[in-house]
C-alpha cells in the first residue's frame, strides 16, 4: 500500500514512459518542492523552474550561502519545517532538472517561455504543476510610496535573506497572521517595533475562535506572538484605520484612526499588507478557467479537490491557486503530484491522497476562521481619498479611477484602458485588486462583478537584447 510513497515502486510497474522534461513544476516553494519529491519517489524526474537563487519559496526563503544564522533564528517555530523543505530540495537537485533563477514569463501551446541569465529558452511540457505562490495583498494608503514603506513580506525578506531591518523604529500595519509574525520577528531581532496597527477589531478574533480551534497549534502560535509582543511592551492597536504615512523624503511618522480618535506616531519605517494574494498570471496564460472566490476576494484558477486545473495535464498547488499557507502548500504539492502520477497510470497510494485531501479541507475551514478573525476592510475603498495613488507604476489616483467610472466604465480591463491603472511595470499584480475595489465601490457593483484583469505576457519584465535559443 505504501510502496509508492516510499519510492520502492519505480517505473517497472508504470505505464507510460515520460521523458525527463515533459513533467514540469513551476515554483520551488513548499508546494513545488514536495511535488518534485513525490514525482521523483515514483521514478519520474521533473524539471523544476524557480525564480529564486535557492529553493524554499518566500515563506522559507533562504539566506545567501555564506550567511550563518541558525534556522531557529530565521524561522522560529517553523524552523523544523523550513529545514525539512531545504534538505529536501538540496537532496533532490542532483536527481531532477532543477533550474533556479529562471523566470517563466509566458506559456503558449504547451510550452513555457523562460528567461535565465539574459537568455530566453523554451521548456515544453506534457504535464505541469503550477506552484507560483503569493505576494502581499496591498491596500494603498496616502504616503505608501515613500521610501521606508515596505510590504510585510518584503520586510520579512529583508530580515530572513539579508539579515537587516527596514528601519530602527518600525510600525507594522494591516491585518492577517503575517502582521503579528513579522512584528515578532523584528522585535526578536532587536528592532524597535513602535506599534502594531491591526485593522481587524478584537471582536472579530473572538468571533473566529471556534473555527480557529480546528488548528490549535497554529492558533497557539498566533496567540504566542501576540502575547509576546504585549509582554515586551509593543503597543498593539486593533480596529485601526490607517490614515496616512507621513514624511518628506522618507517615512517620518504615521497617523491612524481608532474609533473617533486620531493618533500619531513617529517612526522611520513601516511595513503593511492585508494578508496575501495568489500569483495567478501563469494559470491565466495557460488558459485555466477562473472562478470568483469570496473567501479570497479574488478570481482564482479553479481546481478539483485533487489539484487538477480545467486544462488537461495542468495541476495547481499551493498559495498560487488560493491562500492556505505553507503547511497546506506542502500537502497540496504532494497531492498534485500524486494526482498527476495517478492520471499517468502510475500506481499511487490512494489512501495517502485521500488523507491529504482531508487535511487540506480542514485547513480550508481554519482559513475561513482566519478570514473572520482578520476580515478584509470592506470600507477601504469608501475611505480612500481621491488624491491617493493606487497604481504607483503609472501614478493613477483613486480620483482618476472614480472619474473613469463616472464616465460610464465599470469593467476593470476597460477602466485600465481608459486611465492606465495596472498598465505599468507590475501589470496590476500590486495595484489590481485595490483598483478593483475602487471600481466596484464607485460603480455600485459587487467586487465580483467588475471583471478580472486579463493576464498578458510577460509575467515579469523582459529585457531588450535578450538572447534566444532557436
Amino acid at each position: 500500500m505504501n510502496e509508492a510513497k516510499n519510492g520502492a515502486v519505480s517505473e517497472a510497474v508504470n505505464a507510460p514512459a515520460t521523458s525527463v522534461a515533459s513533467t514540469v513544476i513551476v515554483g520551488a516553494g513548499p508546494a513545488g518542492i514536495r511535488a518534485a519529491q513525490t514525482l521523483l519517489a515514483h521514478g519520474l524526474r521533473p524539471c523544476l523552474l524557480d525564480e529564486s537563487l535557492r529553493g524554499g519559496g518566500q515563506v522559507y526563503r533562504r539566506q545567501p550561502e555564506h550567511f550563518k544564522r541558525s534556522a531557529k533564528a530565521l524561522y522560529g517555530f517553523e524552523a523544523g519545517k523550513a529545514e525539512s523543505v531545504h534538505t529536501t530540495i538540496d537532496q533532490l537537485q542532483a536527481e531532477i532538472d532543477y533550474r533556479p533563477e529562471t523566470l517563466v514569463w509566458n506559456a503558449e501551446s504547451r510550452t513555457l517561455d523562460t528567461l535565465h541569465n539574459g537568455r530566453a529558452a523554451q521548456v515544453p511540457f506534457k504535464h505541469l504543476i503550477v506552484a507560483t505562490g503569493a505576494t502581499d495583498r496591498i491596500l494603498p494608503v496616502p504616503g505608501w510610496t515613500l521610501p521606508g514603506v515596505y510590504s510585510l513580506g518584503a520586510a520579512q525578506i529583508a530580515l530572513k535573506f539579508q539579515g537587516c531591518a527596514i528601519g530602527q523604529r518600525v510600525v507594522f500595519a494591516g491585518s492577517g497572521p503575517l502582521l503579528y509574525l513579522v512584528a515578532y520577528q523584528y522585535a526578536k531581532a532587536g528592532a524597535t517595533v513602535a506599534a502594531v496597527l491591526d485593522s481587524s477589531p478584537f471582536s472579530a478574533q473572538t468571533r473566529a475562535l471556534p473555527a480557529l480551534l480546528g488548528q490549535p497549534s497554529t492558533l497557539a502560535k498566533g496567540l504566542y506572538y501576540r502575547a509576546w509582543l504585549t509582554a515586551h511592551g509593543v503597543p498593539v492597536h486593533q480596529g485601526v484605520h490607517l490614515h496616512d504615512i507621513q514624511g518628506e523624503r522618507r517615512v517620518s511618522g504615521v497617523s491612524w484612526q481608532q474609533g473617533n480618535q486620531r493618533k500619531n506616531l513617529v517612526c522611520d519605517a513601516l511595513a503593511f499588507a492585508h494578508a496575501l494574494r495568489s500569483e495567478t498570471q501563469l494559470a491565466d496564460l495557460l488558459g485555466c478557467d477562473f472562478a470568483w472566490s469570496a473567501l479570497n476576494r479574488a478570481w482564482l484558477p479553479t481546481r478539483d479537490a485533487a489539484g487538477r486545473s480545467s486544462v488537461e495535464g495542468v495541476y495547481l498547488a499551493g498559495d498560487g491557486a488560493g491562500i492556505m499557507g505553507a503547511d497546506a502548500a506542502e500537502m497540496a504539492g504532494e497531492l498534485a503530484a500524486l494526482t498527476l502520477l495517478g492520471d499517468l497510470g502510475y500506481r499511487i497510494d490512494r489512501a495517502r491522497s485521500i488523507e491529504l485531501q482531508r487535511q487540506l479541507a480542514a485547513i480550508q475551514r481554519f482559513r475561513q476562521g482566519l478570514e473572520t478573525a482578520f476580515p478584509f476592510p470592506e470600507d477601504w475603498a469608501a475611505k480612500a481619498p481621491d488624491s491617493l495613488i493606487v497604481c504607483r507604476c503609472e501614478e493613477v489616483s483613486a480620483g482618476e479611477i472614480r472619474q473613469t467610472v463616472a464616465e460610464g466604465h465599470w469593467e476593470i480591463n476597460r477602466v485600465k484602458a481608459m486611465c492606465r491603472v495596472g498598465m505599468g511595470r507590475c501589470q496590476g499584480r500590486m495595484c489590481g485588486l485595490a483598483a478593483t475595489e475602487i471600481v466596484a465601490h464607485a460603480s455600485g457593483r459587487e467586487v465580483a462583478c467588475v471583471g478580472r484583469l486579463r493576464g498578458q505576457a510577460p509575467i515579469k519584465p523582459l529585457p531588450f537584447g535578450v538572447e534566444a535559443e532557436q
Binding site: 503558449e108 517561455d113 503609472e394 476597460r414 484602458a417 510577460p458 519584465p461 531588450f464 535578450v466
Partner: protein
C-alpha cells in the same frame, strides 16, 4: 420579441470606422444606432500601434488619408479629447540602397497629396535623428504625420457620437440581420431590435459574414499584430518610426514608454489573439539595431488584436452591389486608424447625400466578384504600406 426602434441607419461595429460614421450621421441630424459586440474601440481600432500616418499608404488611399489628416487636425473639436495625438512626424527608415530607392520613388509618386516628404541621406539622418541605428542608410520624413493613443481615440469617437445624439450600445451582439423589403431589421442577442433603411457593415475582421449574407463573399483573413510596450524611458525618439519593406516600428509616448510592433501573433479564439513568444523575442532581439537607445530597456506588456485583411490590402469601402442601403467599411489591413474617421465620414455622406465627396471606386467590393486576384483596381506603387507585416511570420495560423 421587442418592437423595433426606428432609425435612419444602423451601424454594426463600434470601431473607429463605425463610430466615426455614427458621429458624422448624428451631426447631420440622422437617427443612428451604433451596435458594438464588445466595448467601443476595444478591438483593432483600440489595440493597434497608434500610428497616424499618411506616408507609405498606397496612392489610392491618399485622398481619403488627406481628408483624415484634416479631421485629426481638429480632433478635439470632433471628439472632445486630443487622445495624446501629436504631429511628431513619421520617419521611414531605409536599410539598403534598394529600400532608399523605393522611398525616393514613393516621394515622387505621392507628390500632390500635400505630404511634403523630406528625403534624408545617411548624413542628414544622423544629424537630425542621431538615435537612429546605423543600419539605416537613409529615410523619408513626413513632418506632419504623427501618433496617438488608440485606446483613447477610438472609443472617444463613439462617445462623441452619443453626445451628438446617436444611440450607442456596447455588449450588443448582433444575432440576426434581415431586410423586410423596405428596411433592415437588426436584432441583438439581448433582444433589442432596430429598423432602418441604411445598414453600415463596419464589423472589422468579422464583417465578411454579413457581406456573405447579402451575397457578396470576400476573401478576408485575420491578422494579429504583435505589439509590446517598454517601461518609461528617457525621451529620445521624437518621431513615429517605421521601416521600408516592413520591420519593427516604434514610437515613444509623452510618459516615456516606447510602443513597438512587428511580426504576427496568433488567435486564441475568434475574438482574441496573443502576440506569441516568437514575435516578441524577435522584437526584443532585433529592435536595438534600429533603435539603439532601447538597449537594456525592459518590455512590460505585450498584446495583439484581430485585424481584417483582404488579399490586396485595400479596404472594402462603399455601397453593396447586391443590396440597396447596405454600405461596407472594413478590411483596413492593419492601417485603418489614421484613415478611419475619413472612411466613416464618407459612409455618412453616402447616407446623407447619396455619394461621398471622395471617390471610393478603388475600394469597391465588386473587385472580388470576378477574377478576384487579377483585377484589383488599386494603384500599385513601388512602396508597400509599412506597419503591415507579412501575415505568415510568427505563429499566425496558416
Amino acid at each position: 420579441m421587442s418592437q423595433p426602434v426606428e432609425v435612419d441607419a444602423v451601424v454594426i461595429g463600434g470601431g473607429i470606422v463605425g463610430a466615426s460614421a455614427a458621429l458624422f450621421l448624428a451631426l447631420s441630424g440622422k437617427r443612428v444606432a451604433l451596435l458594438e459586440r464588445d466595448f467601443f474601440g476595444s478591438h483593432s481600432s483600440g489595440v493597434n500601434y497608434g500610428g497616424v500616418r499618411r506616408q507609405g499608404r498606397p496612392l489610392s488611399q491618399l485622398p481619403l488619408s488627406r481628408r483624415a489628416h484634416e479631421i485629426w487636425g481638429d480632433l478635439r473639436a470632433f471628439i472632445g479629447t486630443d487622445g495624446e495625438y501629436v504631429r511628431s512626424g513619421h520617419l521611414k527608415l531605409a536599410r539598403s540602397d534598394k529600400d532608399m530607392a523605393a522611398l525616393v520613388a514613393y516621394e515622387e509618386a505621392s507628390r500632390g497629396f500635400g505630404m511634403q516628404l523630406q528625403l534624408l541621406d545617411h548624413a542628414q539622418l544622423r544629424a537630425r535623428f542621431p538615435w537612429a541605428g546605423d543600419v539605416a542608410v537613409g529615410a523619408s520624413l513626413c513632418a506632419d504625420d504623427g501618433h496617438a493613443n488608440p485606446r483613447l481615440v477610438s472609443p472617444a469617437f463613439a462617445f462623441a457620437a452619443r453626445r451628438a445624439g446617436a444611440q450607442t450600445f456596447e455588449q450588443a451582439h448582433v444575432s440576426e440581420v434581415s431586410h423586410d423589403g423596405q428596411a433592415f431589421v437588426v436584432r441583438t442577442a439581448d433582444d433589442q431590435c432596430f429598423r432602418g433603411p441604411w445598414l453600415l457593415n463596419c464589423a472589422g475582421a468579422w464583417a465578411a459574414q454579413l457581406a456573405q449574407q447579402f451575397g457578396e463573399p470576400v476573401p478576408m483573413r485575420a491578422g494579429h499584430p504583435a505589439m509590446l510596450v517598454t517601461e518609461p524611458l528617457p525621451m529620445f525618439m521624437d518621431v513615429s518610426t517605421g521601416v521600408e519593406g516592413g520591420g519593427i516600428y516604434a514610437r515613444q509616448v509623452a510618459r516615456g514608454n516606447c510602443v513597438l510592433g512587428g511580426g504576427q501573433g496568433f488567435p486564441l479564439d475568434p475574438a482574441t489573439a496573443r502576440p506569441g513568444q516568437a514575435a516578441i523575442l524577435e522584437i526584443l532581439r532585433n529592435a536595438v539595431e534600429l533603435y539603439p537607445p532601447l538597449a537594456g530597456a525592459q518590455a512590460i506588456r505585450t498584446w495583439s488584436g484581430t485585424e481584417g485583411y483582404l488579399p490586396d490590402r485595400e479596404p472594402v469601402l462603399g455601397a453593396s452591389s447586391t443590396q440597396p442601403g447596405l454600405l461596407h467599411g472594413f478590411g483596413f489591413a492593419g492601417s485603418g486608424f489614421q484613415i478611419g474617421p475619413a472612411a466613416g465620414e464618407a459612409l455618412a455622406q453616402m447616407v446623407c447625400a447619396g455619394a461621398s465627396n471622395i471617390d471610393l471606386t478603388p475600394f469597391s467590393i465588386t473587385r472580388f466578384q470576378s477574377q478576384p486576384h487579377t483585377s484589383s483596381p488599386a494603384i500599385v506603387v513601388p512602396s508597400g504600406t509599412d506597419n503591415v507585416i507579412p501575415l505568415l511570420r510568427g505563429r499566425s495560423n496558416p
